[in-house]
């Protein structure tokens, strides 16, 4: 944590992409602070820059200007190999389309991030089983993604995201491909991870119902923050 007590800090961040000879600005002079253990939802229309912001926070992309500080690490200063290592240690990823490896079982998918560690096979097995238990998928270890429902696939993806016990979870439209009931289950799970395991979560969503589960909702438009709403009352109402 830095001196201000925030675990994620963006200072005057600009991000632009190059399309041939054109420069396309995506984020402009963005400042943001996220406290440890916060559940943040990023909302906004398509092209507003919310996924770009998520990628910057997760260390997948680099700001054109400004500083992105996550867990005391200024991500722009890290080399490619160091930022890859940093992601492995600190970030868990949840995607809209689950993105499980189809040729691996649920167990093997969850085990993937642990292969990068020095844990013994036995310890890896224990950690995978724990992660699968947290997401409620005991007994499904040997199932391949094609043998699971969409909601179950997303649970496996969440287990993969938490198996290394990362500090930060980033979720990009985690319920975007699910029916309402499954989406509710996934959101319950994210809330549980936030509350019981104190995971800091940054979630991009178009779904207002999903955003209601977050403790704070940021609205972006054309690369700028247009509203910042803390909604503890709503959380209480829905949980």
């Amino acid at each position: 944590m830095d001196e201000a007590g925030f675990s994620i800090q963006l200072k005057n961040v600009n991000k632009e992409y190059r399309r041939d000879e054109f420069r396309v600005p995506v984020l402009s002079n963005l400042d943001l602070q996220v406290a440890e253990g916060e559940f943040l939802a990023l909302m906004g229309p398509s092209g507003s820059g919310k996924t770009t912001l998520l990628n910057l926070i997760a260390g997948l992309d680099r700001a054109t200007e400004g500083e992105v500080i996550v867990h005391d690490e200024e991500l722009g200063s890290l080399s490619e190999s160091r930022i890859t290592r940093w992601r492995a240690d600190n970030v868990g990823f949840i995607f809209q389309l689950y993105n499980l490896i189809p040729v691996l079982t649920a167990f093997e998918n969850v085990e993937l991030p642990l292969l990068l560690t020095k844990l013994s096979k036995r310890r890896r097995r224990e950690n995978v089983k724990t992660a699968l238990r947290v997401v409620g998928l005991e007994g499904r270890e040997d199932h391949y993604p094609r043998q699971l429902s969409g909601g179950q696939e997303q649970r496996v993806a969440i287990a993969r995201a938490i198996v290394t016990d990362p500090y930060l979870l980033v979720a990009d439209e985690p319920t975007g491909d699910l029916d309402r009931a499954s989406a509710e289950e996934i959101l319950d799970l994210l809330q549980q991870l936030n509350r019981e395991f104190q995971k800091t979560i940054v979630m991009v969503t178009h779904d207002p119902l999903a955003a209601q589960r977050a403790s704070r909702v940021l609205h972006l438009d054309k690369g700028k923050l247009v509203s910042d709403l803390t909604q503890s009352a709503q959380i209480g109402a829905t949980s």
Binding site: L60, T84, R85, R87, F95, I101, L112
Partner: protein, 388 residues
């Protein structure tokens, strides 16, 4: 090791594509094994001759010239010689078959002392020695043709104007890397026939002379001694070890060998391109997956190694099947039987098969390198763009 199951599963992901890549590698390596062995056998067998302490004496003009038969006796009288025999190529027709198998006129009393790795039952050898029109044939020739002791074996002269009416008196056997399809008859039978005929000038000569020395260290000085002795005669000699003599045949095919090698390299190159394309297609389908792996912490070198390992696994499996499959097939099936006498024996050595496997691994490395580098270099954002 902990990534093995991931590599293996990926290799099996598209079974049709993997099987086709494996099959194309296997077939290519199989054919390469046949070609490489064809050229290697000669030198491998030649190297094996060293321990037999044999020298080949031929006319210095090469096969076009002859060696007077009197020299057999003269050379046999030298110290340190175990035995000497004439060895004359007959090249006769059997029925309507031209050059059906190798036929040589030899000295029956010494031939099996010189080629002592060949075995013949003593009673049969005695019968061969005692019958001037008798012959000894190799076990494989006897098996191929269904011939047995006592069967007539008439040969019509093509080079010599004398036909041989031979009778099979003995069947010899020997190690698998020896020609077991030869027919050897008494040189004197041929010579006497030539003396009686119109071309008596052909008589009194041997094609080559083969000797066995008691001591391998004597071979160099002995060959020099023999050539020096006949240098100023009308038929000077060129004496060389059996190893050098055998390799000489390989040298004759050097141009062909280069051509075949060049074609082989072109085939390997095209296989690299085909396998590389298959690997590139496989990775294009997995662009997002590779991005996910990178996102969760797999670094570039690990991605590169995983892709290379997959390519090496597929090509290596093809190489294993092609190279060692070819070896085991040649061990089980006697391919030389179907070569119309051009190959006295054929085998794929462990060394050649292992070389084939290494070539296939190299094919895997080369074919996987470009797709692997592309996958390793592609940024996570580029890879994820499909889904985010």
């Amino acid at each position: 090791m902990k990534y093995l199951h991931y590599i293996y599963r990926n290799a099996r992901r598209n079974p049709v594509r993997s099987v086709l890549t494996i099959a194309s590698t296997a077939v290519t390596l199989f054919l390469m094994m046949i070609l490489v062995s064809f050229f290697n056998i000669n030198s491998e067998v030649a190297e094996g001759f060293e321990k037999y302490n044999r020298l080949i004496i031929m006319n210095s003009e090469g096969f076009a010239g002859m060696v007077p038969i009197s020299r057999v006796r003269e050379i046999a009288a030298k110290p340190g010689i175990v035995a000497v025999t004439p060895f004359s190529w007959y090249g006769g027709k059997y029925g309507e078959e031209e050059m059906p198998f190798a036929q040589f006129g030899v000295d029956p009393t010494t031939i099996f002392s010189i080629y002592d790795e060949l075995t013949v039952p003593p009673d049969q050898l005695k019968a061969f020695i005692n019958d001037k029109a008798g012959c000894v044939i190799g076990r494989k020739l006897a098996e191929d043709r269904g011939w047995k002791i006592g069967d007539p074996l008439p040969l019509k002269g093509q080079i010599y104007s004398f036909d041989l009416n031979l009778t099979i008196r003995a069947i010899y056997d020997g190690p698998p890397d020896r020609d077991l399809r030869m027919c050897m008859f008494n040189w004197e039978y041929l010579d006497e026939g030539l003396k009686k005929g119109v071309s008596s000038a052909e008589s009194g000569n041997a094609g080559i002379i083969v000797l066995k020395a008691a001591d391998g260290d004597r071979l160099v000085s002995l060959s020099r001694e023999i050539d020096d002795e006949y240098r100023n005669t009308d038929k000077p000699t060129r004496t060389q070890t059996e190893e050098a003599f055998t390799k000489m045949f390989g040298e004759m095919m050097r141009d062909l060998q280069w051509l075949i090698t060049a074609i082989g390299m072109a085939v390997v190159f095209s296989l690299v391109v085909v396998a590389g394309n298959a690997m590139a297609m496989a990775l294009r389908e997995r662009t997002t997956e590779v991005a996910i792996l990178k996102a969760i912490g797999f670094n570039r070198s690990l991605i590169l190694n995983l892709v290379l390992a997959e390519a090496v696994l597929v090509a290596g499996l093809g190489g294993l099947i092609g190279s060692f499959g070819c070896k085991f097939l040649c061990d089980v099936v006697d391919i030389s039987k179907y070569s119309a006498g051009t190959l006295p024996f054929f085998y794929v050595s462990w060394r050649t098969a292992t070389l084939g496997l290494l070539v296939s691994l190299l094919i895997g490395l080369l074919s996987g390198s470009i797709p692997a580098m592309a996958a390793a270099r592609r940024s996570v954002i580029q890879g994820l763009r499909k889904v985010v």
